[in-house]
């Protein structure tokens, strides 16, 4: 909302700097985004059009001779409204004007001497838009005749405008008087209300026109006056200036007055040419489905049955509270006028305007459910101005059809102790009365509180807390004390899902991986790239996705992680070790989807940063597996890695992760990404190793088995002995098979493969595996003989079951 300071000053004296005023309005809830100073432009002065001649080479251009006080200039002008004798805003070469043809707001251009269709233009006649004081660019701005030639334009148009970002609860501040009332309460300077008294000399209004409300649920009040014998013409300069100062265009005196009152008081109005209203009878009714109406913008609108129409007995004549109809529009020949000031149902009005994509200044106000009291005030104010400005005879009385009478909440009960209960600050009764009084509330003191009447301009007030806010914002939030939160802290509730995610996130980060966060949405095609299992639920579709790339909620993190690998592969030279712990959305078609927490990570590129003492080999399966092992160790989960299949991964290089305990539940997968999957991601790396942990499955295992809390185990203080075995086995034998056999013996406390070798010295089809076994008994010191005996046993089992032989050095 733009509030010109000169306009605001009509209703309240401002005895502080504009910066102070802006600050105090902001603190009180009406945030002043900027103080715009418009109209002050160097090299633009009042010019006088001496002559208008056709352009020799262009039909739509004219050559205009302008007297600008210090000489004459010939400018080429394309505006249709330029005419001899006008006072205009003349910009000479060098003036910096708004670029009227740029979509970028606030873009300026410096006026240069230029040839237009062969004729040199010595400057320009400016439009409202070029001057930066409004949007209108249909023609040049025509100044009042009284403007003195050569006067800098700033002296005529210069204005400071408060640009206020209004909150949706304050439709009163969509009128300058509403803002003035806040200023008055803040500064304790009295409010000067606009005059609404008019002189009625005509016949009884009811003898000239009738109004009937057929659908009282959508029209709570309809007031109207009739003015006969008006002179339609241009508005007086002050009125044009007011509208220009907020960026509105002057149309005609009558239309301008209705607009002015809307911006003054916040009540939208509409004037009909009474002679064009059939039978001078207005009916407010729902449209019939498919009924057509040509609106003021000359567009034919097809209406729906829930849209409220202003009609005469034959046809629609206006879309209630949205836009008038062309058939009853005020024209130059209009003499008799019926002026409408009504209260329409907010939600219905909003739906109609949205349905027809007709956002208007009227709807901006009506949608906030204005109070019925405002319509009569707006009517009286506009009627007074019409009689003053456009002349004519005002009919006696007003038409007032008021089905909503008595149905609005009238007052709010405010207990004085309620204020302290909410604010934590005691405010004296006298101060409450003054503060609310200055905001225009009538208070009726009653016992230990007040019955507070809701003013007609404040539809947002309905409960005592609303009044508490009114008091607090005027007293100032700064004056409310600061206290620490006291009282009982609530009982702690466990959050196992969140705790597990945080723990896994920390473990992966400590393992050297970088956390990433991706958009939670994707596309079916995008997810298909990672070959989701057939049993995956269908994706949750979005009705209005932000764009086609985010059409469904994701069901996997694999796609996101591979995208992350791909994008970094082109810009990042070091190791790529990334993970994400987040939610996937699984829609089972019942209620809300399951939001399942997953942890997915990937390794690609070199294993190490380039370093003088580090290998330059690429990362592989074992990096991903190692990260998983680190996480599961941290969680205290014993897992086994079984050969498995998963379409995202390369067969033979994939392990399904299961818990070792009884359930053998699957908790994840790790492997090298299949080349067919990987090739769809445009990644500039050789291969990607990836893992995925299903945190929901892990949580279930932990809860079922009571894992998670590390328990101290007394360590064995007896000496351990270690032996290294170098074995020759078939290449198909896995380390896991060897370790499993070694671990069968209770005395073996650990078995670790520490070297692998194939090639020279090892027969074809065989490999050498070096294993370190640690022997330790919990209750006695083992002798060399005992260790030797166990070792022979183990070697026999290895030989019998795996064909393993001891390597002869």
């Amino acid at each position: 909302m733009k509030v010109p300071v000169s306009w605001l000053s009509e209703y309240v004296d401002i005895d502080m700097s504009l910066d102070d005023l802006a600050h105090r309005l902001t603190m009180g809830g009406n945030e002043v985004d900027a103080i715009e100073r418009t109209g002050w432009i160097d090299n633009v002065v009042v010019g006088h059009v001496l002559a208008v001649a056709p352009h020799p080479d262009a039909d739509r251009l004219r050559l205009v001779t302008v007297d600008h006080g210090s000489g004459q200039a010939e400018v080429v002008c394309g505006a249709p409204n330029v005419a001899e004798g006008q006072k205009i805003a003349y910009a000479s070469i060098g003036a910096v004007l708004q670029d009227a043809y740029s979509d970028e707001p606030g873009k300026t251009r410096k006026l240069k001497r230029s040839k237009i269709r062969g004729v040199v233009s010595e400057g320009m006649a400016c439009s409202v838009r070029e001057l930066g004081i409004g949007d209108d660019h249909d023609g040049i701005l025509v100044l009042d005749d009284s403007a003195v030639i050569g006067t800098p334009i700033g002296e005529i148009l210069g204005e400071s405008v408060l640009d206020i970002e209004l909150t949706p609860n304050r439709p009163d501040c969509l009128g300058v008087v509403g803002v003035a009332r806040d200023v008055s309460a803040i500064t304790r300077s009295p409010l000067k209300q606009p005059n609404i008294d008019f002189e009625a000399t005509g016949p009884d209004v009811n003898s000239l026109a009738q109004v009937e409300i057929a659908d009282p649920d959508l029209c709570l009040r309809y007031t109207a006056t009739v003015i006969r014998g008006v002179n339609i013409g241009p508005s007086p300069q002050w009125l044009q200036d007011r509208l220009t100062s907020i960026g509105e265009r002057s149309i005609s005196n009558l239309v301008d007055i209705t607009n002015f009152v809307m911006f003054e008081l916040g009540q939208p109005l509409h004037a009909f040419d009474l002679d064009k209203v059939v039978d001078q009878k207005i009916i407010v009714r729902r449209a019939t489905e498919g009924e057509k109406l040509v609106t003021l913008d000359d567009k034919e609108r097809e209406l729906e049955s829930e849209m409220l129409l202003i009609a005469d007995p034959d046809r629609g004549i206006g879309l209630a509270g949205v836009m008038g109809g062309a058939n009853t529009e005020i024209s130059d020949s209009t003499t008799n006028v019926i002026l409408e000031s009504a209260t329409f149902h907010g939600v219905n009005n909003r739906k109609t305007a949205r349905g027809l994509e007709l956002a208007s200044q009227a709807t901006l106000r009506f949608e906030k459910s204005l109070r019925t009291g405002l319509s009569e005030v707006g009517l009286r104010r506009a009627t007074k101005l019409i009689a003053e400005i456009a002349g004519g005879e005002v009919a006696t009385g007003i038409i007032d059809v008021y089905p909503g009478k008595g149905k609005e909440q009238d007052s709010v009960r405010l207990d004085s102790n309620h204020i302290e209960r909410i604010l934590g600050l005691k405010i004296e009764n006298a101060e409450v009365e003054t503060t609310l009084g200055n905001l225009g509330f009538d208070l009726d003191a009653d016992g230990d509180g007040w019955e507070v009447k809701i003013p007609y301009w404040r539809p947002d007030i309905s409960i005592p807390e609303d009044l508490v806010e009114e008091i607090a914002r005027i007293v100032g939030y700064d004056n409310i004390p600061i206290t620490p939160l006291a009282g009982r802290p609530p009982q702690w509730q466990p959050q196992p899902e969140m705790d597990l995610r945080n723990r896994v996130t920390d473990a992966l980060s400590q393992a050297g991986m970088r956390e990433t966060i991706s958009y939670s949405a994707s596309t079916n095609d995008g997810e298909a790239r990672v070959a989701l299992p057939a049993e995956t639920t269908s994706a949750l579709k979005l009705r209005n996705p932000i764009n086609a790339d985010y059409a469904v909620m994701r069901r996997t993190l694999r796609e996101a992680i591979l995208n992350t690998v791909a994008r970094n592969s082109r810009t990042w030279r070091g190791p790529i070790a990334v993970f994400e712990t987040g939610r996937v959305f699984l829609d089972y078609g019942e209620g809300l989807p399951e939001e399942r927490q997953m942890a997915t990570g990937a390794f690609a590129g070199p294993r190490n940063e380039l370093h003088w003492d580090a290998s330059t080999v690429g990362s592989d399966f074992y990096d991903a597996k190692g990260a998983v092992e680190a996480v599961l160790d941290d969680l205290g989960i014993e897992a086994v890695f079984k050969e498995g299949e998963d379409a995202t991964f390369t067969p033979g290089r994939t392990a399904v992760i299961k818990v070792a305990s009884a359930s053998h539940a699957v908790i994840g997968v790790v492997g090298e990404v299949a080349s067919g999957v990987f090739s769809q991601f445009d990644a500039e790396v050789e291969s990607v190793a990836m893992f995925e942990l299903d945190l929901a499955a892990i949580l279930k295992v932990m809860q079922d088995t009571g894992t998670g809390l590390d328990k101290f185990k007394e360590f064995v203080r007896l000496p351990a002995s270690h032996r290294d075995l170098s074995l020759i086995v078939d290449t198909g034998i896995t380390a896991g098979q060897i370790i499993d056999i070694a671990n069968r013996n209770r005395i073996v406390t650990s078995a670790t493969v520490f070297d692998l070798f194939e090639g020279k010295g090892v027969p074809e089809g065989k490999k050498a595996v070096a294993v370190r076994l640690i022997y330790q008994s919990p209750n006695k010191t083992l002798t060399t003989d005992q260790v030797g005996k166990i070792e022979r046993q183990i070697l026999k089992q290895l030989a019998d079951e795996l064909g393993a032989e001891l390597r002869v050095q």
């Binding site: 209960r421 939030y477 700064d478 609530p490 899902e497 932000i546 790529i576 370093h611």
Partner: protein, 337 residues
């Protein structure tokens, strides 16, 4: 003063001469071998100091006492210097040859948390320490929790503050991506009784075109405290403490009137940043209707709620110029935090 002849190659040294020689030679002993030979030479059983002491026997008692005391002091002194040098040479491995200490060390690879996670944790921890417990809620949410129970009725202009992405479903038209973390206010109150103190981080979504300062996908951190006797002054106290912890104790903070349908009075908390006031969070006293919708007696309980954007705070503090970096997952961005 001259001394009588001693043994070995060193003859008639004074205490001072011996000290000078010992210190000079110790300085130039640059290997453990030379250090050992220095020890033998000066402090050994057949060393020069012993020789000096032995030579005292030929002097009269008065001189013997004076020189003897001086020589014993010198022994203490030299032994102490020797000890220092031995310790020093142990630590500098004088004998094993030098290495190129400019080569980079074997730096363990440290991973790292996403800047949003870091910010969320910092924020939630500040409130955890004031008794607020962290809880989380669904990102795909019912209209009822996201709007209706928060006093944002359908078709109300207040809904314009939250442009919504809706779920496309044949059976449900009331499912959406939550536009804020505030639905957890309703859920938490519906599930439990006062006192309530929760802090709720999580992802939110808006139908909003993206640019350097707007994202359709972002995190929010919501807070709610409800109990008997909670006031606006408590709101200020809690949020001041939060601002002090996140922005430092000298940062200027202001509270001004603002409007959100689920609070009354409504608050905007801003901090001063490079001469401007930057809005950090929206807050207010929980609207009585919101308490009532959740089944709380608004005549008995009051509370306050607040919400903030961790990415916005991170942008401010870490001077990040474009919010779109957060979800680009570019390691050139992520590794800076």
């Amino acid at each position: 003063m001259s001394l009588p002849n001693g043994q070995g190659t060193h003859k008639s040294e004074s205490v001072e001469e011996l000290k000078l020689a010992a210190v000079t030679e110790l300085d130039s002993a640059d290997s453990s071998e030379r250090l050992e030979s220095w020890r033998v030479d000066f402090l050994g059983r057949k060393g020069r100091l012993t020789a000096l002491l032995r030579g005292l026997g030929s002097l009269d008692i008065g001189e013997r006492k004076v020189i003897g005391a001086g020589a014993n002091r010198l022994r203490d002194e030299l032994e102490s210097l020797y000890e220092d040098r031995v310790n020093q040479s142990k630590s500098s491995q004088v004998s094993v040859g030098s290495i190129d200490i400019t080569l980079p060390g074997r730096k363990p690879t440290l991973g790292g948390l996403h800047p949003s996670t870091q910010m969320i944790r910092e924020i939630t921890q500040a409130f955890n320490e004031m008794g607020f417990q962290t809880v989380e809620g669904p990102e795909v949410e019912l209209e009822k929790y996201n709007f209706d129970m928060l006093n944002i009725p359908a078709d109300h202009p207040a809904r314009d503050q939250w442009d919504t992405i809706w779920v496309d479903s044949d059976t449900h038209n009331d499912v959406l991506l939550r536009t804020h973390t505030s639905p957890m206010q309703a859920r938490v109150m519906e599930q439990g009784d006062p006192p309530i103190r929760v802090i709720v981080p999580g992802k939110c979504y808006r139908y909003e075109s993206t640019d350097a300062t707007h994202e359709w996908h972002f995190n929010q951190v919501e807070g709610l405290a409800v109990d008997e006797g909670i006031t606006f002054a408590d709101l200020k106290g809690t949020l001041y403490e939060f601002a002090r912890r996140i922005f430092g104790s000298t940062r200027k903070v202001r509270f001004r009137c603002d409007f959100f349908p689920f609070v009354e009075p409504g608050v905007d908390m801003s901090i001063e940043w490079n001469g401007d006031w930057i809005e950090i969070l929206g807050a207010g006293m929980v609207h009585p209707k919101v308490l009532e919708y959740a089944g709380y007696d608004s005549a008995k309980y009051t509370g306050f709620a607040f919400g903030m954007g961790p990415e916005r705070i991170s942008m401010l503090r870490n001077e990040i110029t474009d919010i779109r970096h957060f979800f680009s997952n570019d390691l050139r961005f992520l590794t800076q935090f």
